[in-house]
Symmetry: C2
Subunit: 543 residues, 2 copies
């Protein structure tokens, strides 16, 4: 007998987002013990970097990881940032989807309001322990324990008291289970190292579970150009965005609402719009219908706009990118490219930077540090992406380049490392764990162009190396015969063998020296180009 | 000057989960136009299948896709299921994370309470249109429009009225933008085809955007064994689960709570537990502390338990799996394996089925239908997984098999298709879009074993084919010389050349015939094995 709908739906209820992620924590990056530990450090460190940057403070971040039991570790992260106000700290660290960042149009590492609350959840689920927080904002200074009421996605704050602290900023301490510290490409140390390289204005010190201290000093005291919160560009809008903005607006007319809310909209543009839509732009934006929003979006596409404001995007910069590559892999040759800002989805600005390293320490390493082929190093908004490589737009773009055109016969076989950083006010991640960039066409295309640009530099270097190698081997082969030839000629002509040998050597030397010099010169030219670019990069980063 | 914490956090707010997915719809599977359309059909069809199965109704599902504008399509899905009660329909189709399935421990396709509400959200975001619903539950019969209040994650139900309907069940109709119908491996048609193959008790009819009608009739009138809702097994629990259950429990003592809530817990087991924990099991479960829950979980691991109830899992069955392979790819040879149920995370039951097809239509096809190498066909709880292959446990397991051991020199180069279905009360998906299974060790290992099992069948077939081919080519080579040899022998001996040729041919034929027969016999044995398995499979699926 069939069971009725009423019977089936009698248990119908709503689930909290915290409950959902408790069951599906693999979606937050808590899958695998090594990855889980890296995820925790990643969430706290990115929050610290964002907070410092927003407050205009040069970041100084302390990370301590200690083994406290079987597959149990404590993690402490302390920064010198602005701290968190006492009345907000619970929500900030123990309410999933709460935060300051949703409605601002600004480049930041965090976007979602999930990360730190996810750590609190994971601590609770694996050890039952709250997170211990100490913070000094200058105005107040306190400590407390924070856990999460999973059923209601609400913070549980306890033991809150005012205390004197010997630092200004935020310190979080948590105990986590089902985690493991490992010195691998996916581990905490590698994560911090790469973060330091992409954030040269930040200083990091680490205490690892073996009691070892490491420090990454800052390589510049210049704060990166602060990304500006910008207004959305008309070309990046969909009808649903427009309605959302319109219904929240205090403007009295759609026309003024558009001019105030979006960038590049002048009175002249509004006049153009008037001709393109069937309704009156002086109506109240609160009454804007879907139909009208759709008309507006279509009209936006017919108008010539100035490009979006691009100073919302803050890339690493060529100078630091090159430094990063040198420090990470110390290769024979580096080629770096910072592309001009582009837009995706019609109006969201983004910048792609690419660096390619060849020879030396470049390329993937096997267990015994032997070369095993091409290597991809990914960043989004200066945050290293260590997981989910296979689904990432960066990996996809790089694998789809015809490397043979750049003198690289097989990417999987050669000593080459490709680093890409994508910066944007909105990075479309493929998952909640933010470890891969979704394969949006505009972004994939731009990454390809950037990497191909950089590959051209590498190509010249590789051809040079190859022609030098060829010249060298020819030279050596000929030199091997010089002695024999000199003796033979001496016998035939009666001249002195030594003299003949000397003059032959001189002749050969002079010819091949020229060849060598050409090769040298070419690589010198390449380096000079890089120097020039470096300076350009510096200028930009000071602007 | 540094900006203060109060300044930074003044815009602090909570985001609704609907708002989060509006911005990050790529995480729900809305990335790419073809994929987005398939996602919509997938969400509605899996809901229909689940509802029918739960109500004990043989599913009959109608899908209509029509082009209604530029990259705009309407999708209608109608089933003959139990319908949805009027007072719940809004929440069921327009509240993210609402549903009946969270707290039940039963194998179903849907798990999250996200899918259908995600469709409502996507319709709103891309066309501003509500979903039109018609439903008859037997007790009531109505229609209405449903949209979603994104800011509050609440349903907006309008135009609700009682109507006479000429069907029993649920019909949803929506209009969606940024979608595209395509006859590819990732398209709607392929999705329905694969769903039909894994659900032989369901009938599907499709109207495609070109006005063509297709039907997949049911191949059995026997409902699949209904998965039972089971109690969780003690070995699958973590302290946080235990506390969650304990604090919700009405039992008066921890001892009775454990016996009532979990499976395989007898009075004898409780007595054993008493010896292993430091606290009194007669305390109220509402007062269970984390410390105590941890003790219990540790104690659970020290006790010998009966295995979890395994009838919670409902696989496709070998018979239908083989049928599916024949229908999808019509290969030369098929090897099918259904493994016994196993558990992961200590106590969650799951079953892996694998089928390998070789030759004929097996293997990936290029644009012109040419063979291009090995092909992986993935299912989770009988739902086809068409996207995110690279991150899936199934792909990972298959790529990490040493295929050479099974006479397959290079998986990427041979005409081989591997189908895997993983069934469980809880599938750990790697993302919210549910297109890949997370790479949990227990699951990856079991998939490997299943595929390797099936590969052994294939190996025997391939070796046979190879030895037959070798015998055949030897035979042909020798035959080529028979005529010449006969003439030569005739000249030397004076015997009749024709006679010599006849007797030589007989000699060779008899020797090679034997070889051929052996090869034939072997492949016959393989087929017989399959026949036997088929019958076994049927029996099981009727149990």
């Amino acid at each position: 007998m069939a069971i009725s709908a009423d019977e089936i739906f009698k248990e119908f209820k709503e689930n909290s987002i915290a409950e959902f992620f408790r069951k599906n924590r693999q979606m937050l990056g808590y899958a695998g013990k090594v990855r889980s530990l890296t995820t925790i450090v990643h969430e706290y460190v990115t929050n610290s970097l964002d907070a410092c940057e927003e407050a205009g403070i040069l970041p100084e971040i302390r990370v301590e990881v200690k083994e406290i039991g079987e597959e149990k570790y404590s993690v402490l992260v302390r920064d010198n940032g602005p701290g968190i106000p006492k009345n907000i700290v619970g929500k900030a660290l123990a309410t999933i989807l709460a935060g300051t960042k949703f409605h601002r149009y600004i480049q930041q590492r965090g976007q979602q309001g999930i990360g730190a609350s996810g750590c609190t959840l994971y601590a609770y689920v694996t050890t039952g322990k709250p997170i211990h927080v100490r913070s000094s904002t200058g105005r107040e200074s306190y400590e407390c324990d924070i856990s999460i009421d999973i059923k209601n996605n609400k913070p549980l704050v306890s033991n809150l008291k005012d205390v004197d602290l010997n630092f200004r900023g935020l310190e979080v301490y948590g105990e986590f289970g089902e985690v493991k510290y490992e010195n691998s490409d996916h581990g905490v140390f590698e994560y911090i190292k790469r973060t330091a390289l992409a954030n040269p204005h930040a200083a990091f010190s680490i205490l690892d579970p073996y009691g070892k201290e490491f420090a990454f000093l800052r390589s510049t005291n210049v704060m990166p150009k602060k990304p500006k919160a910008i207004k959305p560009h008309p070309l990046g809008l969909e009808p649903s965005d427009l309605i959302e903005f319109a219904h929240r607006s205090d403007s009295r007319k759609v026309s003024s609402f558009i001019m105030e809310t979006f960038s590049r909209v002048s009175q002249a543009k509004v006049d153009e719009l008037k001709q393109l839509v069937s309704f009156d732009l002086s109506k109240n934006p609160k009454d804007l219908t879907w139909q009208e929003a759709e008309e507006l979006v279509k009209a936006f596409k017919k108008i010539k706009w100035m490009a979006p404001e691009l100073d919302s995007v803050s890339p690493i910069g060529e100078k630091y990118l090159e430094l990063a590559m040198k420090n990470i892999i110390n290769p024979e040759f580096i080629s770096v490219v910072e592309r001009k800002p582009k837009v995706f989805r019609g109006g969201i600005p983004f910048v792609v930077e690419a660096a390619i390293a060849y020879g030396g320490g470049a390329g993937k390493r096997g267990e015994n540090q032997e070369e095993v082929g091409g290597n991809i190093i990914r960043f989004a908004n200066k945050v290293p992406l260590l997981f989910d490589s296979a689904t990432c737009a960066i990996t996809y773009a790089i694998k789809n380049i015809d490397w043979k055109r750049y003198s690289i016969k097989d990417f999987e076989q050669e000593p080459v490392s490709v680093l890409v950083n994508v910066s944007s006010v909105f990075i479309p991640y493929s998952g909640v764990g933010k470890q891969a960039i979704a394969q949006e066409d505009d972004i994939v295309d731009e990454i390809k162009l950037a990497v191909m640009d950089a590959a051209r530099g590498i190509q010249r270097y590789i051809s040079n190396v190859r022609s030098r190698n060829m010249a060298e081997s020819k030279y050596k082969t000929i030199m091997r015969y010089v002695n024999q030839l000199s003796n033979d000629l001496s016998e035939l002509t009666g001249s002195n063998a030594k003299e003949i040998e000397e003059s032959l050597k001189k002749l050969i030397d002079s010819k091949y020296k020229k060849l060598f010099e050409e090769a040298q010169e070419n690589s010198y030219v390449l380096n000079e180009e890089n120097e020039e670019k470096k300076e350009g990069g510096e200028e930009e980063s000071m602007g």
